[in-house]
Symmetry: C2
Subunit: 205 residues, 2 copies
DNA sequence: GTCTATATTGCGATAGAC
DNA sequence: GTCTATCGCAATATAGAC
């Protein structure tokens, strides 16, 4: 997987990569304050001092890991540029959200952990990322309003937060409701259709 | 509630009460691992050793505080027993949720903090509390289905989680979207009406 | 019941050898 | 770039005086 051989010029710092890879599930499960540098280094199979060497400390590793995790959120903004109907854009947002959480089960935890118990990274990484997604949804909604797609009297912010809430909350509640509700990915298509059904009937004119 | 002062019989263990009162905003903001016993004792104006004396340690104080905070969630189950229309029960749930978060701005943080970075309290306190609320919503929905209030093809779990998601996520996102969306309590009535509008149009036959 | 003083452990960070 | 060893500090918890 990694090379490390002088002249080839191929990426070589296993240490750095291993640390970030090991940090993701640990920080996701226990939060910044719940994980020690010894635990992180042990899980990565590298020496404890490498954390300071590469990241300047535990918080630096946390920030680097979060930056990498949240880079993927930027792709949501591509949806707004696509040449499809407004309602289809909202459906694309829901689909992208579901597949993102399925592919990366840790992302939602960083999201909500920082919303609830913010660290220094909240202002620099998480808040801007969330604002851009919400702004994208607001712009999409405004565009739909201009084309008379929606009924009158809808509040843009309330409407897009309602859609975002339906899909995000479903995943957030999973640890508590797994015995009450089938959260398996086989039902994802039904879930998406269901949420879009409620939303569509709720906002159309 | 507590006595111990000879003859007046008035509640007396300030220490215990002060500790719980001081612990609420601290744990809410920084989580169990983010707060030290020194900080807790200092904020409560009591001696550090009182935490072990009354609660057996920091985690005991955390658990006692959470138990007190989550007791209020039990009142949601009264809604199901009320003699009103099914849709009105859902509206009562939304209203109760909004007013609960307004009166106690810390509750949602404990909720989501435990969902995201669970401590020992998750299994004993938070998960049972959430399950009971979701079960109440499911029962209410089933009742509505029996009375042919809703259109066919609706999945009970997806439907009630969608409603819960719309209202809860609105409050969860506030720290990130305060500059984009007006989250002030003056808009609460509009918010409730808006969410119920979408939900009602989304599920009615 | 409340205090002081302290025991003990674990933390994050780094100096310095290689 | 990676290691060992250790520093200095803050953590929780408690023993024991009052």
């Amino acid at each position: 997987m990694q090379y490390g051989m002088g002249r080839t010029g191929v990426a070589d710092n296993d240490c750095r990569n291993n640390l970030i890879a090991a940090a993701v599930p640990l920080f996701a499960a226990k939060g910044l304050n719940g994980v020690s540098v010894r635990e992180l280094a042990g899980a990565a199979g590298v020496n404890l001092s490498m954390i300071s060497y590469y990241f300047g400390g535990k918080e630096g590793l946390y920030a680097a890991m979060l930056t990498e995790q949240f880079a993927i959120l930027g792709r949501l903004e591509e949806i707004q540029q696509m040449e499809v109907d407004t309602l289809q854009k909202f459906e694309l947002y829901v689909r992208a959200t579901v597949s993102r959480y399925r592919r990366n089960p840790y992302l939602l935890r960083f999201y909500t952990s920082e919303l609830t118990n913010p660290t220094a990274c909240f202002e620099t990484i998480i808040k801007p990322a969330i604002k851009r997604v919400v702004q994208m949804l607001l712009d999409t909604f405004t565009d739909g309003l201009d084309h008379k797609k929606f009924r009158d009297g809808l509040n843009p912010a309330d409407t897009v937060l309602a859609l975002a809430g339906m899909i995000n909350f479903y995943f957030l509640l999973e640890p508590a409701t797994a015995e009450l509700v089938d959260h398996s990915s086989e039902r994802d298509e039904e879930l998406i259709r269901h949420i879009m059904d409620i939303f569509t009937r709720g906002v159309l004119r």
